[in-house]
Every structure is written in C-alpha cells, then in structure tokens.
Amino acid sequence: MAIKVTILGLFIYAAMGLYGLAAILFVVRVRRVAWVLYGAGCAVAAAGWAYRWVDAGHVPLQNLFEVFLTLGALMFPITLFGRRLLKVGGEAGDAVLGLVILVPAGLVFSAEPKMLPPALQSWLFVPHVAAYMLAYVVMGKAAFQAFSVLLRSGEQRLRAERDTHVVVRLGFPLLTLGLVLGAVWGKIAWGDYWNWDPKELWSLAAWLVFLGYLHFRYVYGKRYPRANAAIVLLGAGLILVTLLWVNLARIFAGGLHSYAT
C-alpha cells in the first residue's frame, strides 16, 4: 500500500472521491447531482487515463495498474450502456464498483514498469486479466441487482430479477473468455492448460455457478426469483474469494498462482 504522490495519483484519488460521493447521493436519491458527480468522476478518470497514455508513451493496457485504471474510467460507460441499451439500473452499485476498482490502481499497483519474471512475460497476461476484471465488474453489477431482488417485493422484485438476468448474460461470455485465456496462457507458459491450483478451482467454481444459474433460469424462468438471486450471489461470492482470499491466504498451500505473494 503506497499513496501515489504524482499527478496521476491525484487524478485517481479525485475520481475515487467523486465516485464515492456519487454512490452516497444515488442511495439517498439525490439523482441529478449524483449523475453529475458520477460523470465528473469518469471524466477525471478518463483524463488520468489520457495523461498516462501521453506520459508512458503507450496505450495504458500493459500492466495491472493500467488495466485497473482503464476499468475505473470504463465504469460510467458501462452504467450508461446498462441504462440505455439494457434498460438496467443500479447506478449506486456501479459507482461503488468504480471506487473499489480504482483502489488497487490508486494504492496498490505500481505505475512503474516492473521487472517481471520470465513466466509473466506473455502477451496473454493483459488480455487474461482484463477479460476477468471486466467480467468481475459486470458480475458485480449483477450481484447488486440480485441484492435488490432479495430486498424488494412484488413488481420491483420481478424487475430486479429481470435486470439481474440481463446483466449476467452480459458478463458470462467475458467470464468464459477469461477462463479460456488463462488456460491458453497456462499451456504456453507452464506446460499445461489446467493445473488444479486453488485460484483456478475457485474461478472454475464461480463460472460453474453462473452456468448453473443460466440452466436453472432456462427451465424455471422467473418463477423463483429469490432462488435465482441466491445463485447469482453465490457466484459473486465465489468471485470475491477468487480475487481476495486466494492470494492472501496461506491456507491454500502453494500452487502456481502463489507467485503473487
């Protein structure tokens, strides 16, 4: 954890602050101002992204810092896409996701090019991480919708259930792509497309839960909205475990993904 005392750091912290305020305002329903702040946060993040491009001399998608910065700026377009084209709401959750996504960019990952060990030097590194992070953001949005299903009732519950379904369908191909890219990279770099290590297994479990959700919904439709929501929340929970716990916990002894520690 290190605070970035740079211009880029300022852009990121400002965007985080704006996203945070917007989230609060969305929740208390001061929607106009919330939208303005949310849009401003995106503009600041996008400005930071452009600054990074000029400063580094390459498109900012070459390392983890840049991937998360990009996603932080993409959050607003994703919300807009959801509203306009998918007719899905959830701005408050999206603003929170934007804030959360910028935390690693602002406080954890180094902006400087790292001397990566040979195994991490592959052109597949960024696509694999980017696909997964985009998928996680979308599934996070779906999870917020699933929460609404549990909190609401009647018409609103059914509306939230429909929204959940739409967003899961948006994110599922991305989740599949991330999984497959990881396998391809594994084969090229490590010799095998699957190594049964904890990170792979947790991400497989998450993928299977969403797969199961899609089959369940295919058969039962909207008949059991809370069951649908529960499955989605389980999937999102497994995504959280994949993301957070595996890299930190020593419980899951070893495995290829432990190079992150």
């Binding site: 040979p118 030097q121 497959v180 049964w196 479990a205 299977l208 369940f216 899951f252 495995g255």
Partner: protein
C-alpha cells in the same frame, strides 16, 4: 419426452453442483492433491457421466442442435472434456498397457550444453519414465538479465582452497568496496588493490599483433596470428597456404541451408566469436573453414594445420561512448610485487577476471598468515579478482535446441520461457537451468495428445457464448 427432459436437466444441475463442491474441496486440498482427486477413478466415472449428459442433451433438446450458438457451446464443452480425458495421465497409461503405446504423458529432461539427450525423467530428476523417439541437442544456453542502468560494476575476489591432494575443496569469495584512487586490502590475501581508472563506457585496445584472431600453427610449430578482421591475410610456408579472413562473427551460430549448414551472425544470443577463413592452395583451389571459440574442433578437417580462435589479453582501454561495458584499470601489490592490468569485459559478458598469481604467490595462507597454526588443508592458490556486472533480476533464459533423428538435425528452435518447441507429438518447455554455471538446461516435456480437441472446444465454447449472449440479442434488435 417432457419427463425425460426434466430428468436430464436435473442431472445436469446436480452434476454442476457436485462439480462446484468438488472444485471447492480441491481448492482446500492444494494443487497436488486436487490433481490426484480429479484424476482418480470415481472422478473419471463422473467425467464420463458429464460427457454422456452433454450427448444426451443433444438428443433430448433438439434446439441445441439447430441453433448454432447453443450447439457451439455444448459441443465445445464436450470436446474439452473428451480432449482432456484423452490427454490425461491415466489415458496415457491405459494406452501404454492396452496398445503398447510409447507416448510419455509428461516429464523432465536435463541436457548439458553441447550434448544430446532423449531420456525423460520423473519430477524427482532421477527415475527414467521413458525415451523420446528423437534426440534433443542443446547447442547453447544463455540468460538475459534486466539491466540496472547507472549502477557501477562491482569488484570481488575469489580465493580457491585446495585440499591436501590438490583438489579444489572450497571457494571463498567476497565483494571489495572500491573507489578510484583508493588503496584497499584484498580479502583472503596479503595484497592491496587500487583502482587507477574507471571508464563507464570503454573498448579494448590491443598491442600490435595481439588483437583477437586466429592462431595458426605451421608444420615447424611456429604460430602466426591472423587478426579477426575482414580482409586480413597471412601466408604459411609449410604447409603452403594463404589464409584470409572472409567474415568475422561476434556470436556465430549454424543453421541448415540446402543440404548442409551455413554459419550466421547471432550477436547477443550468447558468446561464440568466430572467423570464417579461406584457405587458398598454391594451385589456386580454395576451401573455407570456421575458427570459432566454442567447440573449436568442429571447424577443422583432417590435414589442416592446427588453428584456433584466441582471445588475447587487452593491453589497454579507451573511452568509447558506443560501448555498453566499462573498463577498470587496477594495480595490485603484494609483498613488494606489483602488477597493473585492465579489467575489460566482453560485450555481453556478466563478468571478467584477472588471475592474481603474478603478485600473490602460491601457498599464500588465507587471512592471518600465521605460520604457527598451519591449516589442515593446503592453503589458497592464486586468487582471482573479478569485475562483475550489476545485474537485475533474470529477464529470460534461452535454450538453442536441435531435434535430431538418426544423427540428422530435423528441426531446431531457440526456446525461452513462454515459447516452447513443438515436435514429434510433444511440447518442450524451457523450465529451469543449473544456477551454478548456466551450462545445463532443464526442459519440461508434455505430450500433445488431445490438445487439438481441447483448443477446438475452447474456441467453440467462447465463440458460442459471445454469439448467444451478445450476438443474438443485437441481431434480434436489428431485425426489430
């Protein structure tokens, strides 16, 4: 039919749920035990059932076959399942037992530079699990480091320690903190060293007649030196030959060309300076030879005068802004003896050294020099002074491999981490190397059985998913 569909779907859901539970259990077990679990017999039955469910799904849900996206996803999943099972360790063992197949599922190989190998070993590094149907020759191995620009090169001393029987038993080494113009003690010896000059970017200068080149021996034993410079020429009387330097290489490698081989410049990919020579006989006939630093005997033919590539000692150094290496002039004194030398590394060398024997006499006791307490082992013989590149972490390591069948090279590739060689049904990965001297590579060998099915399945799965959930809604909207 509806009842059958319901049953199939319930089995699918149950199977997926069970797989989720197994995956979570596997995550707690760790990679090793999870692999054993998922390759065990009960799980093989489970995988088979999943495969059958996929096939059954096609039979029971006709829309799966009719609509391309659904078909792609489910067919893709089935292909992945089948390909993975076909390529599993168990399947290899089964094919070995039932069909006498010689294919090895996976293993490791260790090859020393300049040798060939076809034995595949288990992870323990000793048990032989099989032999490949071809040989792998390691022609060269090298490591690339991240540069630490701006950092100064370091000085170190290595003092070998020999046993009573004269064999090397130990090496003591330590860094020497240095500043230009400052005299410092050389550890493990009674010597003192002063860095007289340090040029951050330098090139070697050689005394007349002492530049790198090819040393050729005439029949009477006298040697002539042909400088490593295009167009240089020397004449021998016995045997009567005019020898010219046609080409000069910084690092020469050989590749196939037509029926034979041709040398090429592979600068930066290792260290093998060489000169391509032309021997012209008095009758006008000409032949070419290669004088190279590594494996010198490969360039000679019977009847040739003896020749070899020589690295002379540079007598000096001068600043050269294009140079990527520094030079340091050191003066070492000991017991009244003195020597002054330049330390000049080659362009891609990680270090260079000078022998301190001229000033530090043999049998110099280490450290205190107190003869009253003789060491049980013979004391240090000549120590060496090292000039070492400040190296960052390893960036990559490379193995130049040749695939040989019946003595013929049929394929070649320089592999690195993330870029394997694929030949004969196997993938060969750069896995590790000997960390001591960097002359030995460790490769991981993996069978490619079932790989094509897995790749095809993955493409279908991802493509089908994008088409179904992204493509179809867009197409539907466009159609109104």
């Amino acid at each position: 039919m509806r009842r059958i569909r319901t049953i199939v779907m319930w089995l699918v859901e149950a199977g997926l749920a069970l797989l989720v539970v197994l995956a979570i259990v596997g995550a707690f077990l760790g990679a090793e035990r999870a692999k054993t679990l998922f390759n065990s017999l009960p799980l093989m039955v489970f995988w088979g059932i999943l495969g059958l469910l996929l096939v059954g799904g096609f039979a029971v849900y006709p829309c799966l076959v009719k609509r391309p996206a659904g078909l792609a996803m489910h067919l893709g999943a089935l292909l992945i399942l089948v390909g993975a099972m076909w390529g599993s360790d168990g399947a290899h063992a089964l094919r070995a037992d039932l069909l006498g197949s010689k294919k090895i599922a996976s293993g490791f190989m260790g090859i020393t530079e300049g040798t060939r190998e076809n034995r595949v070993l288990a992870p323990d590094g000793r048990t032989v699990v099989g032999e490949l149907p071809f040989d792998l020759a390691l022609r060269d191995f090298w490591i690339d480091y991240y540069e630490m620009p701006g950092r100064r090169w370091q000085m170190a001393v290595v003092a070998p320690v020999y046993g009573g029987d004269g064999r090397l038993v130990d090496r003591r080494q330590t860094d020497i903190a240095w500043e230009v113009g400052q005299a410092v003690a050389v550890p493990f010896t009674r010597a003192e060293m002063t860095v007289l000059a340090y040029l951050p970017h330098a090139k070697a200068t050689y005394a007349e007649g002492a530049a790198p080149g090819v040393e050729i021996a005439a029949a009477d034993g006298k040697t002539v030196r042909l400088p490593a410079r295009v167009g240089a020429e020397v004449t021998l009387d016995d045997p009567p030959l005019t020898i010219r330097a046609l080409r000069v290489f910084a690092c020469m490698k050989v590749r196939r060309a037509g029926d034979g081989f041709e040398p090429y410049e592979a600068e930066g990919e290792g260290i093998n300076p060489a000169v391509e020579l032309e021997f012209e006989h008095p009758d006008g006939t000409r032949e070419t030879r290669l004088a190279m630093a590594l494996m010198p005997e490969h360039g000679r033919r019977p009847g040739d005068p003896a020749f070899r590539y020589v690295f002379p000692r540079a007598t000096g150094a001068e600043a050269d802004p294009d140079s990527r290496v520094p030079a340091a002039q050191v003066r070492v004194t000991c017991d009244g003896r003195e020597m002054t030398r330049w330390l000049l590394p080659g362009r891609d060398e990680p270090y260079t050294s000078i022998d301190l024997a001229p000033v530090v006499p043999p049998r110099e006791p280490p450290g205190d020099g107190d003869d009253a307490t003789p060491e049980p082992m013979e004391a240090t013989l000549a120590p060496e002074l090292f000039f070492v590149r400040p190296m960052g972490p390893i960036r990559d390591y490379f193995s130049d491999l040749a695939v040989m069948v019946g003595g013929e090279t049929v394929a070649e590739k320089t592999i690195e981490v993330n870029d394997p060689l694929h030949w004969g049904g196997y993938h060969l990965y750069q896995s590790d190397y000997d960390h001591e001297a960097g002359r030995y590579t460790v490769l991981q060998v993996v069978s490619d059985s079932g790989l094509l099915a897995v790749w095809a399945g993955m493409v279908l799965l991802v493509g089908g998913a994008f088409w179904r959930f992204w493509g179809e809604p867009v197409v539907g909207k466009l159609r109104g």
